[in-house]
């Protein structure tokens, strides 16, 4: 495990700096794209006009911030502009950033930390549609929790997709932790039941449960998820302590449908936004927060084991719209 100790050391030295850097690197494309667009926009208008708002709408839409959320946002922005009585497009910039914060925070204190129990088993369930990166995310979160000194167990609850169990096993080996499995095709609830038993016996701190990717419009698969939930609740009455919905940053408007459907079936407590290292913006999470009140907990910024960060609103929004020298 020498490989990881290098990272650990580096991290302890200047964790904060590295984190900021990671955001910057991961979101470089996003930021450059949007920033240039915003700048270009402000420069190309002398006045605050209806067309400027239309263009602004396009920029938001391009970031996959939901259509409805965008339209509401622009509408509010227009009202705001009248109140503050500004005249040049540049003056709009800080207001936009401000309003983004408002949109996300909604006068609440948004807690991005995981709800983990101090001296008892915490069960975390990961759900999402196919191919969003649930298994990889679990590995990354496990890595992070191990770093924080927790004793972590994995449950291979994706018994459907070919190779999914192996995939989690490989991660388990790399992380040097135990993975509870059953053969492909088993009832996923039984895997989770087994895992909870193991976790209790061996006094694990955290159990991370993988689940098969399921499209939110498949009723039977969603019911299966309901069953898993029940199994967890029966064994660990206050669990699952977190149900994290994993969403791919390239997802468009369908992300809203995903949030709605998964929220209905399980008590989703937060969102993990993955693959934010491409050209995609992941703006749909803002719409998800706006419409379904789900906070973003983690952001996956790359392919490496420690390319996962607690969501930092400031970094994210500045990453989207902020100054170049953030």
């Amino acid at each position: 495990m020498g490989f990881f100790s290098i990272f650990k050391k580096k991290k302890k030295d200047n964790k904060a700096l590295e984190k900021a850097n990671k955001y910057r690197l991961g979101m470089e494309k996003t930021r450059n794209g949007l920033l240039n667009k915003l700048k270009g926009l402000f420069q190309s208008y002398d006045d605050i006009t209806e067309e400027l708002f239309d263009d602004l709408t396009d920029i938001f839409i391009m970031a996959d911030i939901g259509v409805e959320t965008t339209l509401d946002f622009i509408e509010e922005l227009k009202e705001d502009e009248r109140v503050e009585g500004i005249h040049t497009p540049e003056e709009l910039h800080p207001i936009i950033v401000d309003k983004m914060f408002e949109l996300y925070l909604k006068n609440e204190i948004v807690d991005t930390s995981l709800n983990l129990k101090e001296d008892d088993l915490s069960v975390l369930l990961f759900v999402g549609v196919n191919g969003v990166g649930k298994t990889t995310t679990i590995a990354k979160i496990a890595h992070r929790l191990i770093d924080e000194g927790k004793k972590v167990l994995l449950a291979a609850g994706d018994t459907f997709r070919a190779g999914a169990i192996d995939q989690l096993k490989v991660w388990g080996e790399r992380l040097g932790i135990e993975v509870v499995t059953r053969p492909e095709g088993s009832d996923p609830s039984s895997v989770i039941f087994d895992a909870i038993k193991v976790a209790k016996e061996k006094k694990y701190d955290v159990l991370l449960c993988d689940t098969a990717g399921r499209l939110q419009n498949k009723t039977n698969l969603m019911k299966e998820l309901e069953k898993m939930n029940k199994v967890i609740q029966k064994e660990v009455p206050d669990g699952p302590h977190e149900t994290l919905l994993v969403i791919d940053a390239t997802t468009g408007q369908n992300g809203l449908s995903q949030a709605e459907a998964f929220k209905e079936i399980t008590n989703v407590t937060g969102v993990v936004l993955t693959k934010l290292d491409g050209t995609s913006k992941g703006g749909i999470v803002l719409a998800i927060r706006d419409r379904y009140n789900l906070p973003i907990k983690f952001i996956g910024l790359g392919e490496k084991m420690d390319d996962l960060e607690y969501f930092d609103l400031e970094d994210y929004i500045y990453g989207l719209f902020g100054e170049e020298d953030v």
Binding site: M62, A63, A164, D166, N217, T250, G252, G278, T279, S280
Partner: protein
């Protein structure tokens, strides 16, 4: 999700305008706004939307709309026509090498469904073109990706060439191609690792594989749920590889799949296949003309008709129609029908294809197991009873016996027999329109959970307008 169809949106916009004799340019603008939002909600790229709206508006400003009594419908028609034109009229076939080995390279972002579709494609092409496929596992990066392909190969009985994860993908591909020759495989499908379009090193690897394998098809797997970024992805992969076609995966989700339009519009890459489910036979040839109505949230009647013709044996259907006409319909026929419908896929999926139904269906829970229950009940009938349904409908003791035998309640048995009787009557009266009878019988009867009115609504809409 407020995914109204464009027709509903236009209707709403028009209601705001009522009271005026004739519509003017401003009203058209108002309608164009609705078209715009509708397309954006379907994830069509905003640049495509802009260009598209401009075209449509020009056309809409013509006499046809302005003087029409139903301007909303006219605009809708123009939008639909334009979309269809952009998407292409017909399905683009796959390039198969007629005299030799066909090589297909699969590429795409992580999680877009490459490995699954490598398997699906192998099975589909084997069935359609009678070729002997070999899968090459060239994704050495994602943990267990090789295992995944090997497992799929076993399930499909397709050979997989794998060298673990220690050799370079280029080498694996080269060796795999040679291996295909020794095994007389004339279809080679190469599964590659998912990568970001901006990852230059990995893109180079794909370019290398391309020059080694000289594929006849380079297919890009694109998740149908992708948002605005779909265009960037397609453009970047296309720039590096000259992609020959797309596979639109996960189209069985409730996404409207505007990405398909964006890709077609911006890169002109044809979409050749679409993935319609997790099972390995759930891959279909992509029909671009049908995508238009889906993007507009208007259902897909053509696919429904296709499914019906594909899965219902004409001779069987004719035979049954004859029996019906003579009043011979019994539980054996009923069972046969049940099986025909089951072959067409999930009920919910089928109903979702009917225009106007998509949205309503979101909140309706259809118990697909109902089929199994009905089968169980019929299974507990004696041969005599199945042939002569009257025996049961008049006998309480028979019903009780069937209830015990099938493990379903007496009420359920009762419901089935009375349903059967009504159905028999209905069908007799329907015999005048025997072409659509299969479809009609499917509805109403087997889905007691479905509110009748809604079913009728869907039916009414598609009855007149489409050829059958």
């Amino acid at each position: 999700m407020p995914f109204e169809s464009l027709s509903e949106r236009l209707g709403m916009a028009l209601r705001r305008l009522t009271g005026r004799g004739r519509i003017n340019e401003n009203d058209i603008d108002e309608m164009m706004k609705e078209v715009r939002v509708s397309l954006l909600e379907a994830d069509v790229n905003y640049r495509v939307v802009k260009a598209f709206i401009k075209d449509v508006k020009e056309k809409a400003l013509g006499e046809r709309v302005m003087k029409s009594l139903t301007p909303g419908d006219q605009v809708l028609k123009i939008v639909d026509e334009e979309l269809k034109m952009l998407m292409g009229e017909e399905a683009t076939p796959i390039n198969m090498n007629p005299n030799g080995t066909t090589v297909i390279l699969l590429a795409g972002l992580q999680g877009s469904g490459k490995t699954t579709h490598a398997g699906k494609l192998a099975a589909y092409l084997r069935k359609t073109y009678n070729v002997r496929p070999l899968l090459i596992a060239a994704d050495i990066y994602r943990p267990a990706a090789v295992n995944q392909l090997v497992t799929l190969g076993k399930q499909l009985d397709v050979e997989v060439y794998e060298q673990g994860i220690l050799k370079k993908p280029e080498v694996i591909v080269q060796e795999g191609l040679a291996y295909a020759k020794t095994k007389n495989c004339n279809l080679v499908i190469i599964d590659t690792a998912g990568r970001l379009s901006i990852d230059e090193a990995l893109m180079q690897e794909l370019v290398n594989i391309k020059s080694i394998a000289k594929p006849h098809e380079i297919l890009l797997a694109v998740d149908a749920m992708t948002g605005q970024d779909a265009v960037n992805v397609a453009i970047q992969f296309n720039n590096a590889l000259s992609v020959t076609g797309c596979i639109l995966t996960k189209l069985d989700s409730d996404t409207r799949g505007g990405a398909a339009l964006s890709i077609r519009y911006m890169t002109n890459i044809p979409i050749k296949f679409c993935g319609m489910g997790e099972k390995l036979d759930q891959i279909e040839v992509f029909h671009p003309d049908r995508m238009a109505s889906r993007i507009l949230g208007m259902g897909d009647v053509l696919t429904l008709i296709d499914k019906a013709t594909e899965n219902i044996d004409e001779a069987d259907a004719m035979d049954m129609a004859e029996r019906l006409q003579k009043g011979y319909f019994n539980y054996y026929d009923f069972l046969k029908q049940l099986k025909m419908i089951k072959r067409m896929g999930s009920l919910k999926g089928l109903l979702g294809l009917i225009p106007g139904m998509g949205k309503q269906l979101k909140n309706i829970d259809i118990d697909e197991k109902k089929f199994a229950y009905i089968e169980a009940i019929i299974g507990s009938m004696t041969v005599e009873e199945r042939k002569n349904p009257d025996l049961i409908s008049t006998s309480r003791s028979r019903k009780e016996r069937i209830s015990k035998g099938s493990g379903r309640s007496y009420q359920e048995v009762n419901a089935l027999t009375s349903q059967f009787e009504t159905m028999k009557k209905q069908m007799k009266s329907m015999m005048g329109m025997d072409e659509t009878q299969m479809e009609k019988m499917a509805k109403g009867q087997y889905v007691p959970n479905m509110p009748q009115q809604k079913v009728k609504k869907g039916k009414g809409k598609n009855r007149g307008g489409f050829r059958f």
